[in-house]
Subunit: 331 residues, 2 copies
DNA sequence: CCACCGGGGTAATACGTATAACTTGACTCG
DNA sequence: CGAGTCAAGTTATACGTATTACCCCGGTGG
């Protein structure tokens, strides 16, 4: 009734436990005959043997498991980061366990209290500098995604070319003749949003009038913030650059509520290219972020670090996808 | 440099390893004096001791870890199921590892090959009957979410009152005077969608003309399917009941492309109440599914089963949220 | 004065695996 | 013919923890 162990397989095959371990671990070149190897394998499948991972992990001193820390899984972006990381992990016989970071409502303070599995390394995504401390405690190899490369003591960083995404957006809007732009920024104060604000200001400042308003990362928050920002006596912005597709969706709703047509009266751009971007009407012009690739590179970096070889790579390129929410500036 | 073990703590505190284990495991009532217990704890924190989970799991023969199998994490519904399950798990010192089911593109065939952590039980969500076999192999306690309770050999089932959700939708539309209804169903052939189709047909059939068209679970697929279904010579449906908010978003885009106003010319209802439902314009009338609660109850059920006590509970209630995408049937 | 008892701890062991070190017999080569 | 080599295994051990069974000693009742 209890699960068979490698010793059970050994007695069933008439060999020693060590031989079973050698055969099933594919380490028997020239150490075990083909015939007995076949015998062992047959016995293993017949008994339905599955190695006890806990025992193996203890013996090897490694679990081939990484912890991925993300702010929130319900955000499609992070779900895709996970997907990418898990794919690469699986290709290397690694597993990934998730930990929703303290930003969420989870009560667990200690990341490692909730992660029951022993861990080999940590990948942290889009974390504020402060949140890092709680994680770093264990002294595990750490890879940071989408965060300030000059801060923290991560072994590797994986970043998206956010500034370049803003450059493409700004050039697109300037090319369409927009000269009064509203930046709908996120109220969350992380590096990834700071960098966007900075880039946009530097690029647009010299050629256009740029205002900024902030909003929580929800459709409704963005709607009210936009309504407030658009109800000005004169010189209303002709374009809104949003830090996130979610904000852009809110901005569109605000515009429609104010009787403004998109893109005839107002252009709106997003960021991320979530499924949401093509679900709304009109479809959003937005900066596509290859989220899966972020996860893939993050895991690749961690594997490399665990291997002892330092890892570095250029920022992952992003590109603007022009859809129906942007058009020529109104006269 | 290497991580301290319980033995290191023992020598540092001047006691035996057994004592350390007793103190840190909170099993020392009357077996160890307060004074030495304090000594041990001090040494443990000073050395930064963290128990080796692999060793503990081996010793205890249990990992306090559950596997959650979901079709796709990028679907917000399953992300929320995970969130709920993880919360309950954390409250009981359990962990949750994810496995994206074979529906996804992941190459891993064996769920347990990718889940490096040893497992105590499995929770499977919205699985087709066939996909179960691959999972059941290991003979672990199994809880099924959102699946046919009469099939499979799960120890417990957690289901939503999908049929009742359809009843509320049907009554809402009938009350608004709709008599020609299109059911935009999912092409995915799972129990959860079958039950919806059945319920809708039974409820609407006697009072209205009901047609059905199927679509892949994407906005674009739904848009084209709807466009095709709506371009009929006469007796066009006045309402569309969608199996999913994603489909509803596609239906809305199709309507607008055909020059139909929502809800004046056409009513649309969704299912799930994803963030998408309030991001689109008009906001969707949809059946709210408490996804987190599904995850919570699933984990609760698994914990109960692991505890040896069978688990059963009534279906989780759902309710229709009336927003702006439904209105009186046009004359 | 001895048997007993209970508080305060310790020694020993097992969990299941991977692997280094050793054994054994057959065969080869000088 | 003896030393050496090689294939084919086996024995023994360690990973770090939790727990059972034991030990020691001071006090206490008879």
């Amino acid at each position: 009734m209890t699960r068979p162990t490698s010793r059970d397989v050994a007695t069933a095959a008439g060999v020693s436990q060590a031989t079973v371990s050698l055969v099933l671990g594919d380490k028997w070149r020239g150490r075990v005959s083909e015939r007995t190897a076949a015998l062992v394998r047959e016995a293993a499948t017949r008994l339905g043997y599955r190695p006890n991972l806990a025992a193996r992990n203890l013996r090897l001193g490694s679990t081939r498991t990484a912890l991925l820390v993300v702010p929130a899984l319900t955000n499609e972006f992070f779900a895709r980061v996970y997907t990418g990381a898990a794919r690469i992990a699986a290709e290397h016989g690694f597993g990934v366990v998730l930990y929703p970071s303290p930003d969420g409502t989870g009560p667990a303070r200690d990341p490692f209290a909730s992660a029951r599995a022993a861990l080999d390394g940590v990948i942290a995504s889009s974390m504020a500098a402060g949140a890092l401390d709680a994680i770093g405690g264990a002294g595990l190899p750490l890879v940071m995604l989408d965060s300030d490369p000059t801060a923290g003591r991560a072994a590797a960083h994986v970043n998206l070319a956010m500034a370049d995404g803003m450059r493409q957006t700004a050039e697109h809007l300037l090319g369409l003749g927009h000269r009064r732009v509203l930046h709908l920024a996120s109220a969350v104060d992380t590096w990834t949003f700071d960098i966007r604000a900075e880039a946009l200001a530097a690029l647009l400042g010299p050629h256009a009038e740029l205002r900024t308003t902030r909003s929580t990362l929800t459709v409704d928050g963005a709607r009210t913030a936009t309504e407030r920002a658009l109800t000005v006596p004169h010189d209303r912005p002709t374009a809104i650059v949003c830090d996130d597709d979610i904000l852009a969706a809110g901005a569109c709703k605000a515009a429609r509520r104010l009787g403004l047509r998109i893109p005839e009266d107002l252009s709106v751009t997003g960021f991320d290219d979530l499924a949401l971007a093509t679900a709304v009407d009109p479809e959003l012009t937005t900066v596509h972020l290859p989220a899966e690739r972020v996860g893939e590179q993050g895991m690749t970096a961690l594997l490399s670090v665990l291997d002892g070889t330092p890892w570095t790579a250029p920022d992952i390129p992003v590109h603007l996808v022009v859809r129906d929410s942007t058009g020529p500036a109104p006269a």
